[in-house]
Symmetry: C2
Subunit: 330 residues, 2 copies
Amino acid sequence: MTNTTLKLLAQQLQLSISTVSRALKDHPDISTATKAKVHALANSLDYEPNAYAIQLRTQSSKIFGVIVPAIANLFYDSFIAAIEEESRKNGYALMILQSSNNIENELNNLKIFRQNRVSGVFACLSAHTQNLEVYEKMSDRDIPVVFFDIVPKENKYTKVRMADERCAIIAAENIIQRGAKRVLALFGDPALSISLKRKQAFQQFMEKYAPKTHCTYEHTHSSLEAEAAFKKHLNKIQKFDTVFAMTDEILIGVMKAIQALNIKVPKEIGVISISNGFIPSLYHPNISYVETSGYELGKLAFVQMLANLKGGKTLSELTVDARFVEGGSM
Amino acid sequence: MTNTTLKLLAQQLQLSISTVSRALKDHPDISTATKAKVHALANSLDYEPNAYAIQLRTQSSKIFGVIVPAIANLFYDSFIAAIEEESRKNGYALMILQSSNNIENELNNLKIFRQNRVSGVFACLSAHTQNLEVYEKMSDRDIPVVFFDIVPKENKYTKVRMADERCAIIAAENIIQRGAKRVLALFGDPALSISLKRKQAFQQFMEKYAPKTHCTYEHTHSSLEAEAAFKKHLNKIQKFDTVFAMTDEILIGVMKAIQALNIKVPKEIGVISISNGFIPSLYHPNISYVETSGYELGKLAFVQMLANLKGGKTLSELTVDARFVEGGSM
DNA sequence: TCTAATTTCGCAAACGTTTGCGGTAAATTT
DNA sequence: AAATTTACCGCAAACGTTTGCGAAATTAGA
């Protein structure tokens, strides 16, 4: 079956294409009677406007591009879910591509976005992206880019991210409040700015407000490393009374170790992490965590995108605030 | 900056649009010299063909639509990751929409797909979709549909899914092999055919090959329900020596209960589940599970899509086989 | 040297919309 | 009854490609 077009409708109704087009979108020039007829036929013939013809004519695509390191990731998932919701409400669709933290993929994805003349792109930089030229190229084409989570340093970009330092500080606050004496603080890949930021903030805060508390810091790259690190440090003479996990990945490793060694939480050790909440809810007792909501971030990113689309440039860095969620692990 | 078009290139080179177009795609009609010139200018001006004009002209969009109940789901994630990989290799992009198990959303999403004239759609039915008319509408428009995971019963559709019965049977085999005497088997929403299929297969197999083993069956709709069900049954006089969780969600509930009651796995109770492997790896010891790989399913679905696109109709139901993955919980 | 084949390119239509502008007939005002 | 307004509607161009066909220019064949 061939697709119904305006032309077809026009022929069957003995009207011009323009009249049909206007009737379909309630243009005041068209009489109510004609509109009714047109709508009726359009419905019965299942008319669907051709998005490509529209875009060609109007030069706007109603599609957003999204680049994430990986789709299969709890944080990005919820981010995507959020902008998907908002997009649908606003008549946009999403084109989602993953970079797999690979710069070449990132470039390719952006190319696809350009060729599809997306209305805007949400981009999370892949881990080691240095060259932002490609993104400049998007801006040159008047395609707004909203960076999220992993964002460039320069101020000239629009970016939204979690309040990384705040997260770490909130965690530190709660650790101090617990009266911790010895804490093991596990952070992620030191090559990522987010790891460094969090560690710095955490460390400074602890040294300032709880100088007597003994902190051990370690960077790990995976759950396995985190698990190993935990076990290693626990075997020493001095035991820790609190452990802080900077990411879900790390928390997973820590919890495996804790289960393996049959350590009681929170009696023998307190656990706190930074997370969007899913992983912490998997354990008993639930792990207390500082919430970083990909969902919230997505909502915020979308607002920024819309602002960018309407009122020209809104260059700024917005952060979504963090909050402490009480589990039973502290 | 305005986008570079064929027309622009043609003007600058004093050539016709058609020549430029052909030169860009290595048409034999064009001389090598001209091709070189065209390519050079195209590069320096960052020419990107307008995908919309191409689609309008060629009537094919190089975009696949994907409908999943939720993006933020481990299984669908890996499915999406798989078809995204394949799509990119084959020059396609993905448009991903979530139905949130809501029929209205599902309809809306399909509409967007039609309007964007996608080349094909990968669809996972929302939980209670009965009316497949909409999907017929896609076929009427020669848009192939590959159903995955939750698929319609009728044979006339192309579908790929996990070998649901096999999964349950493999689980049953291992439970029998363990010498289980009393098992608690927890299944999902009985409104879903997948729950019934798995339960039926499981039950039949157990009754046939281990008639003396006492099995208790229960359906739950969430982690919380699963947790409650586990606790309820455990409080009775007779204790279970093995528990079977049909999904990750159920497993999560079960494990929370197990941690809360400080039950030793596998000494006091054996645990086995059906999963893609992530959740089972979160615990110590790792939970043994029957693997259902969304990734594998995605690969398979893509093959089906390609076949559908090329050789007309390939109506069939393919299943990806399951395998047992040994953790330490049995 | 003249015709025939070949190489290289341009013309123009088409894909399905949107929209400025102009036109006709009816309704309203003088 | 003539002049003006109003209500409806159609013409045609444009968006950026692709592609069948024909034409000019070049080369080969005799």
